[in-house]
């Protein structure tokens, strides 16, 4: 009986040792999986980005694009996913909205920019979109089917990826654009992006309360149809932001000199924006 006990115990220990993969192997597996998922994300994201440009037009104002990228990258370099390159562009439409495509392709519209009054507001808007990318909201919604058979894989390799097998990129992109332009991510993901966004903005040195100011202004203007088509009602977002800010004591110490720098930079940006509008 005792022999049986020791055989059982030894086998259990052996099982534990064998099933504990070496750390190096774990890291390699993680890296490989991350690489694959990132490739998929970027493939989907850039196709969606190309379709957004086609739909709305590219607002080619170098000074304005440069400023939006400076603010966006200030946040993304601090809190963005290190495996991605974050890019920011302006869509040439009077609609007031922002869009985040998987893989780090982020857009704000000319209409939304015209409503913003400070660099902090722009930062919190961009941080909201960065949060969608970081949390993989779109990618989770439209994730490509995972189980591909060996024959399908080989067929795609032989046809350099142009075989008509399996889920096609065009279908996934259609689905993604429908989420961006019509159905939205849903309340839960939008509230999460609001919370993450203002936390990211605060971590990068911006005033987290600026998102509330920007949304309140849009709400007051009454021009809420476009934004509320794909986002929760503005009043609900404002209530949630207020609760989250006080629960987490999200504060920001505005020093006069900093405020002055941001004011001057934003004034130059507005001039560039209005000058070519």
């Amino acid at each position: 009986m005792k022999i049986l006990f020791w055989i059982f115990l030894s086998s259990f220990i052996l099982f534990c040792s064998c099933s504990s993969e070496p750390k190096h192997a774990d890291e390699e597996a993680n890296k490989s999986s991350l690489k694959q998922n990132t490739e998929d994300e970027v493939t989907i994201g850039r196709e969606m980005a190309a379709r957004l440009f086609a739909r709305f037009g590219n607002y080619e104002n170098t000074k304005a694009i440069q400023y939006v990228n400076f603010v966006g990258r200030t946040i993304a370099d601090q809190v963005g996913r290190p495996e991605l390159v974050y890019r920011f562009a302006i869509l040439d439409t009077a609609d007031e909205n922002g869009y985040a495509c998987p893989g780090g392709y982020i857009f704000v519209t000319r209409g939304l920019l015209s409503k913003l009054r400070t660099e902090d507001e722009l930062a919190t808007v961009l941080a909201h979109e960065i949060a969608h990318v970081n949390a993989k909201h779109m990618y989770q919604t439209i994730q490509a089917k995972k189980k591909i058979t060996w024959t399908e894989t080989l067929a795609r390799l032989f046809t350099h990826g142009y075989g008509d097998l399996g889920a096609s990129l065009s279908m996934i992109v259609d689905q993604g654009l429908n989420v961006l332009l019509n159905s939205g991510y849903g309340m839960e993901k939008e509230f999460e992006a609001d919370k993450m966004g203002i936390t990211f903005a605060a971590a990068a040195g911006y005033d987290p309360k600026a998102l509330t100011a920007a949304l309140a202004r849009i709400s007051k203007s009454g021009e809420t149809q476009v934004l509320e088509k794909t986002h929760p009602p503005l009043q609900q977002r404002l209530n949630n932001l207020s609760r989250y800010s006080s629960e987490n004591a999200l504060e920001h110490g505005l020093i006069p000199l900093r405020a002055e720098v941001l004011k001057k930079r934003f004034a130059k940006f507005k001039l560039a924006l209005d000058g070519s509008a």
């Binding site: 980005a49 590219n58 200030t74 601090q78 065009s170 004591a249």
Partner: protein, 168 residues
């Protein structure tokens, strides 16, 4: 037949293995460039220590968006949005093929990257272009401009420093 002392050593070994496995499962890594470990689960709470990208922390407890973690012999709170279950891997190291793909012109998009992704069910965009709906046709020229727009990281650091230091 083994004596009692051997049994104790055996059991101790078993316990160590079990603990090691649990510990490995609760490791998290800082993804933000730098972030403060806080004394309380609040952004305004005092900093226990500065953490940088790549630091490994052990999860102790969860409270909403906040995680209590242990690192370098100290315990504190971090928002989970700054952490991930894998070590940070830079875009350059992770995906050279992605970079190659980004640099190519839109007419030469059959890069190894696109092929690699296509083997997982992400068929390249030829079918999109075939759809024929003008308003749905992708604008790759603008995409290319977006991807080619580069900002030197030193200029971004200077941009951030201007605001921190309050001088242009």
């Amino acid at each position: 037949m083994l004596p009692n002392r051997s049994k104790a050593i055996f059991c101790g070994l078993l316990l160590c293995l079990a603990v090691a496995r649990v510990e490995a499962a609760t490791s998290l890594w800082v993804q933000a460039v730098q972030v403060d470990l806080r004394g309380e689960p609040q952004m305004s709470a005092g900093s226990v220590m500065h953490l940088k990208r790549g630091d490994e922390v052990a999860l102790l407890a969860t409270q909403g968006l906040w995680l209590k973690v242990a690192v370098h012999g100290k315990a504190g709170w971090l928002s989970k949005i700054f952490l991930s279950d894998h070590p940070p891997i830079g875009s350059a190291e992770l995906s050279k093929e992605v970079k190659v793909s980004m640099e190519k012109t839109t007419r030469r998009r059959s890069s190894s990257y696109a092929v690699s992704a296509s083997t997982r069910g992400l068929q390249a965009d030829r079918s999109i272009s075939r759809r024929g709906e003008e308003n749905q046709r992708p604008d790759y020229r603008s995409l290319e401009k977006m991807e080619k727009f580069k900002l030197d990281s030193r200029l971004i650091s200077r941009f951030a420093a201007e605001a921190r230091e309050g001088s242009l």
